[in-house]
Amino acid sequence: MPVIVCHACDLAHRVDKIAPASRVRCVRCRAELYRTGTAGVDTAIALALTGLVLFIIANTYPLVAFKVNGTTRMTTLTGAALGLYDQGYAALAVLVSFTAVLVPLTQILAFLYVLVPVRMGFRAPGQEGLFRILSALRPWGMSEVFVLGAIVALVKLSAQAEVSPHIALVAYGLLMFTLTALASVTPTEQFWQWVSRARQ
């Protein structure tokens, strides 16, 4: 009978088999031992592709427009990071571009790279390394925090000037939902079940 050891409190659990579409918690510390979804690989790929399209829109079009004295200023996400860089805060520019741009993009591309071959029945080389990168990056993808930060900036400016959200902010908002959905249909245990099925 297989044993699952809790990653949070080290308690050993006897498990008959990994059940589909379930979430199993540690009996002692309530940490999630594993979770498997009802969604298939197709759903995950569709979400990743949707995310990719939204990501491209979110990064090419302006996020917000700021109108004062008849002139309008707009900025993209890259513009926001460059603004920090120009003022001599390269570290902040790197932090913003890493958490709001680079991590979401890496997550989308890495999922596609691993899951499209899985769907076609073979394994992508280097998938273990990519999984480790994906799992290490999870806490650093901050698209939802960025969307709220943009709203805070809009509210701050609206007291003094005319500001309006633009297409990229909408795309970014949708991207945040897409990425959340992608994360929820690809829990670790589910990911490895797909991968091991493709290996056979």
């Binding site: 297989p2 044993v3 699952i4 050891v5 809790c6 990653h7 949070a8 409190c9 080290d10 308690l11 050993a12 002692r28 510390c29 309530r30 940490a31 031992l33 594993y34 996020l63 917000v64 700021f66 004062v68 004295n69 200023r73 900025t75 513009g79 926001a80 990071a81 603004g83 920090l84 003022q87 805060y89 570290a91 902040l92 520019a93 932090l95 913003v96 958490t99 709001a100 273990e128 999984f131 480790r132 799992s135 290490a136 806490p139 650093w140 901050m142 925090v145 960025f146 709220l148 930060g149 943009a150 805070v152 900036a153 509210v155 701050k156 400016l157 007291a159 500001v163 670790t188 490895w192």
Partner: protein, 206 residues
């Protein structure tokens, strides 16, 4: 109370990356057969790494909150804003919900993280952790809310990019913004380097 059957007592490791349960072998540098991450009974130097990150973050918390993070130049005046004065001016302009949001994300959450991690670390160094259940729950809250403190950094980055109307109004970042971002990053790293099992070890020994 009977002794808990743990991974350690059975000679089993759990991979902290992919959560596969693996049989412990005597070799040093053992890797998980599923995702090839290094596996350990307990993360090496977890306590000292986490403690140093928390201390560094606590030191940065002071300049991050006392010194201005942003300067607004206008035709008439220069105004310096700290995190707190930013919250106050949001509240004064009538945006209460946003002011409360920023107050929690930028001031309460970082403080909560520092106090909670400090308390947990001290409890562990005292060797017998009482109430591991509650402390585990506290740690998970800290881990979950940590990233939301980046809110102000993102808001600032947009303000800087947008408000650049020469001679009329410009917004400039001040050095304390770096300290603030440092607090966020260091506390996130602290939570990631912490091995939750340390909270349960005194209980596991029975």
């Amino acid at each position: 109370m009977s002794r808990a059957v743990t991974g350690r007592s059975l000679g089993l490791f759990v991979c902290t990356r992919c959560r596969a349960t693996v049989r412990a072998i005597a070799a040093a540098g053992q890797r998980c057969p599923r995702c090839h991450s290094p596996v350990h009974a307990r993360r090496p130097q977890s306590l000292s790494t986490t403690a140093s990150l928390v201390i560094a973050a606590a030191l940065l918390y002071i300049p991050a909150n006392v010194l201005p993070v942003m300067r607004t130049h206008t035709f008439f005046s220069d105004t310096d804003d700290t995190i707190m004065s930013g919250v106050i001016s949001l509240a004064q302009s009538g945006s209460w919900p946003v002011a409360v949001l920023v107050f929690f994300a930028s001031i309460v959450v970082p403080l909560l993280k520092l106090v909670a991690m400090g308390e947990i670390l001290i409890a562990i160094t005292r060797k017998s952790v009482r109430l591991p259940q509650q402390r585990s729950r506290l740690f998970r809250v800290v881990e979950f809310v940590g990233r939301w403190s980046m809110l102000d950094v993102f808001a600032m980055s947009l303000l800087v990019a947008l408000v650049q109307v020469q001679s009329l109004a410009t917004v400039e970042v001040r050095p304390a913004a770096l300290a603030f971002a440092g607090v966020v990053v260091l506390t996130m790293l602290a939570a990631q380097s912490f091995d939750e099992r340390l909270l349960w070890d005194s209980q596991n020994r029975g």
